[in-house]
Symmetry: C2
Subunit: 346 residues, 2 copies
């Protein structure tokens, strides 16, 4: 069973293909929804669109909404995940332009599309749909802490926006390639758009966040793996609570620690230094042990998109020796990544 | 300025006095809202009411809603805080009875009163109010992690429902008695009913929970203290994420660790042993240091309501020697408590 499937349910209701909207983003880290869809659902993206102030690009063709619609696009997907999940006023004209051109809008922001009067009015007038995918399911229970059957892997990070989702997607795909029954479990809006399901864990009321994580990876066959997309960081001044709830509720057998070499400060919180990889491993295991005493670290995933191949391979080797565990960049694949996969499954 | 004031704003809209409703509760730990109001707002409570199956009592006179109304009661307050904040079907007849008798209903449960058809219909028919106080304010921002002026104390626990709110209320009152400008900051429904304000932190969407904690204790005068009611426990399999968000957002200068001697397992999660007091101090300081490097432990608060005075005093002395910090039961007061207050303010 392939681990990353085309959307099984939501895809049937989300009109496709997509035009990716980048807002006025100048920081690539905030455009991760757009990059995620480009990288993991490329066949469903016709191009990108943005405000004039944007400097970030996915590399897909820039199309106006009218051009995109002419090329088949049916939905504009807001490809931005900014702090707070807000839709700033300067995006509204572009979004209305998309509705005018015949596109529906999909958003994973906290802000709800239909609570913005200009969008609501335009959608009503034009008969367009405004679809918010960051609404958690109803009926989430308080976490029980009960041990569930099946195996689980959770990606944890030294920070936000540095590869936890990509790592989980790549590991789920690699597990499946080795004949292991595995599911990618999405916990954020991009993952949900890619996977076609999941729970936006950071949109769940905090008392229920660990319960949502339990719900997301239910009892399964003993040799089945859920590969769960991590959120935030246990060291993040705003999101650590989300990360801890996800860690406790997921009860992972294995964590893979994700980091971007060279990043020294928390994205959007420049007063905060990043923790080291060792600190992150140690704290994730210590806190995770509370609900999963057998938790272990399967290895480290480095986001090396800013390095050339030779420097990246050298870094993997040096970090592997220093940390004493498998170190790889899942997007580079190769022997290092195969070893990471092996160690996770060991 | 007294630290625990009569409700300044909500009190003017919450019709008073109260009849406390105990549902069908048989576990005293779940009736903490009723006990809290009895102990900290006694003058506003005319009595208690419950389903036949209830075995817990506040010791206040049992009154039917009709009797309570005749004695001046204007509102039935749901005095129960069960896991999940649900309103079970067996409570509905009693609640409708209260509406019939002329009482409004106040609830701090997650479940919303007006989403229960029988209550909604009865309230509409009778012109009664259904008031949910567990609705967080709008406009909560993502936590910034910025250091705020003024001083803060947070109570943290080895578990839920063992004295974090009482400890914070007693400390705020003791600070005020020493002429220290202090405010009790409520984070749960009972505290909010007592204090007349606050944010129900466990009802906030998880991404915003640390931001809500920042909002709850804003910049203040350098010698002002916010005494913040803790929630859950960093070791709780369901609520640790809430506790961590509150710890990070509160940026406490001082934590006071609360425990109930003799409790060995997590309330409602009997598979989980409680952490030791030492582990709790150590983890709170370690995690709290992330947003407040100067964090320290002011001492330990023990809930000794089940011990006689002599055993309690012996225990304080033994624990003080073992732990090397002030140990007291705020509800017993005395020299031990005065020392705890002194150490917190030191």
């Amino acid at each position: 069973m392939p681990s990353v499937q085309p959307l099984p349910s939501e895809s049937e209701v989300l009109p496709q293909p997509y035009l990716l909207f980048l807002g006025d983003v100048t920081e690539p880290g905030y455009a991760k929804t757009a990059f995620g869809l480009r990288d993991w659902a490329r066949e469903r993206c016709v191009g990108e669109f943005a405000c004039e102030a944007a400097t970030v690009t996915t590399g897909l063709p820039f199309l106006t909404p009218v051009q995109a619609h002419a090329q088949g696009a049916r939905t504009l997907v807001i490809g931005v995940a900014n702090a707070g999940g807000v839709i700033p006023p300067q995006w509204i004209p572009g979004l209305v332009q998309a509705l005018d051109a015949g596109l529906d809008i999909v958003s994973g922001m906290h802000a709800k599309l239909d609570e913005i009067p200009a969008l609501r009015a335009a959608a009503l007038r034009l008969g367009r749909k405004l679809i918010d995918i960051r609404r958690p399911p109803r009926g989430i229970a308080i976490a029980s802490g009960r041990k569930r059957s099946g195996k689980r892997l959770l990606t944890v990070g030294t920070d936000c926006a540095l590869g936890k989702k990509y790592t989980a997607l790549a590991l789920a795909r690699a597990f499946a390639a080795r004949g292991v029954d595995a599911d990618f479990r999405a916990t954020g809006q991009t993952g949900i758009l890619i996977a076609g399901g999941g729970i936006p864990i950071d949109a769940v009321v905090s008392d229920f966040a660990a319960g949502a994580a339990e719900m997301l990876s239910p009892d399964a066959a003993p040799d089945h793996w859920d590969v769960i997309e991590g959120q935030g960081s246990l060291f993040h001044p705003a999101y650590a609570g989300v990360s801890l709830a996800l860690l406790h509720g997921s009860q992972p057998d294995v964590v893979v620690v994700c980091h971007r070499p060279g990043r020294e400060r928390v994205l959007g919180h420049a007063d905060y230094f990043l923790p080291s990889i060792e600190e992150t491993i140690e704290l994730a295991l210590r806190l995770g042990r509370r609900t999963q005493p057998a938790i272990r670290c399967g290895g480290v995933s480095l986001n090396t998109s800013h390095l050339d191949e030779r420097d990246a391979l050298r870094l993997f080797e040096a970090e592997r020796e220093r940390l004493g565990c498998a170190v790889a960049d899942p997007l580079r694949g190769g022997a290092a990544f195969e070893r990471l996969v092996t160690d996770c499954l060991a």
